[in-house]
Symmetry: C2
Subunit: 222 residues, 2 copies
């Protein structure tokens, strides 16, 4: 693969790259200069064949018989993931979750500075969270213009989510992370990911129940 190769990286692989990157940072801390696919697989919680296949989409950055140079792999992976630049984030909805996210300092450190907070509640507008002023959601276009806004986080109740998504898109935001427990529609060119806590628990519930013998059989005689 050449340096300029823009061949499509499978979605499943893209979703694992950040996990590899985190593992590489851990291993770098621990001091190693190179790492084998076996070791990286262990840290990332996958198998070695998958690691090698995934990394091969980035290019041939390993050395046979030796492994991968950690520092160089971190560099290449960061570049591919677009982490060599900052991506300013706005959080819409400053309730429990929105505040927790705003207070969760790790975002800014990792290249996702929170440059805006929006809410609809007049009681919340005007307050500060982590030094960031909470503004009206009507100010979204202004915020987008002032800062090079690229990512929007929706942390509102479900009923407001679609309207917020529309406003984000109108303001030029082209990546959205949705925490509201509802489906939202966006234009094709906008990236959308969702995190739904209740759904994660329900998935666990399914498997938990299977362990306990499966769902109650409705026709059972008892």
């Amino acid at each position: 693969m050449s340096l300029t190769d823009r061949r499509k990286i499978p979605e499943a692989t893209v979703a694992r790259l950040p996990i590899y990157l985190r593992s590489l940072h851990e291993e770098e801390q621990a001091g190693g200069g190179t790492i084998s696919s076996e070791r990286l697989a262990e840290l990332a919680g996958v198998n070695a064949a998958k690691v090698r296949k995934d990394l091969s989409y980035l290019g041939s950055y390993g050395t046979r018989g030796v492994g991968y140079d950690i520092e160089y792999l971190i560099f290449q992976m960061s570049r591919q993931l677009g982490l060599t630049q900052d991506w300013p984030v706005v959080i819409v909805g400053v309730g429990n979750l929105g505040q927790a996210l705003a207070n969760y300092g790790a975002f800014g450190e990792r290249g996702f500075p929170i440059v805006g907070l929006c809410d609809a509640d007049p009681l919340v507008i005007g307050t500060h969270v982590q030094g960031v002023l909470v503004r009206s959601i009507d100010d979204l276009p202004d915020i987008a213009e002032e800062r090079a806004l690229s990512i929007g986080i929706i942390a509102t109740p479900a009923h407001a989510a679609q309207s917020v998504a529309d406003r984000l898109v109108a303001a030029g935001v082209s990546s959205i992370l949705n925490f509201a427990p509802t489906m939202i529609a966006v234009p094709e060119e906008v990236s959308l990911r969702k995190v739904d806590l209740a759904i994660e628990l329900q998935i666990l519930s399914f498997y938990q129940q299977r362990k306990a013998g499966g769902p109650p059989v409705i026709g059972a005689v008892g």
Copy 2:
């Protein structure tokens, strides 16, 4: 498919069932008695063929030419998902995120009552969040015994996560939802799901960058 059929439901399908269930509740609110796969697909954000295939794993609960009876489908799906009973939850780590989760009332309402909060910090232990006492993490076995604890949520910093997971497993918890930004290992019989906010942002970053023309080409002449 018979009522007692325990054929394996694909993981991908299981992960979508809660989304269908939410859509069904919405539609029930809106009043309809039956729903077509087409309409359910629209609400859930997938296509109709997938809906029909997914539902077929639960059984033949539709009526050709008519659709699915909403109430009955909700009943069957809830049963399969294990939502006809409560699954008590403990949250370990009462920092920003842990508190936000504890305050996020939707869990209890949806059958996942928070029966315990644990932390390692003596300053936090003894306080209450949403009426629940924060106890020492050493009390985990007691909490598990007092209440029929089944699900553990890890909301600690990364360095503490593995140790917390071990303690949860030791206390008999067999489903874990991990918010700590690190991989944790659990025995095979324990279900594990993870939510990592930073990773979601990095995945968005990847696609955001592609929109902007792809990663900087390191060999480029400028």
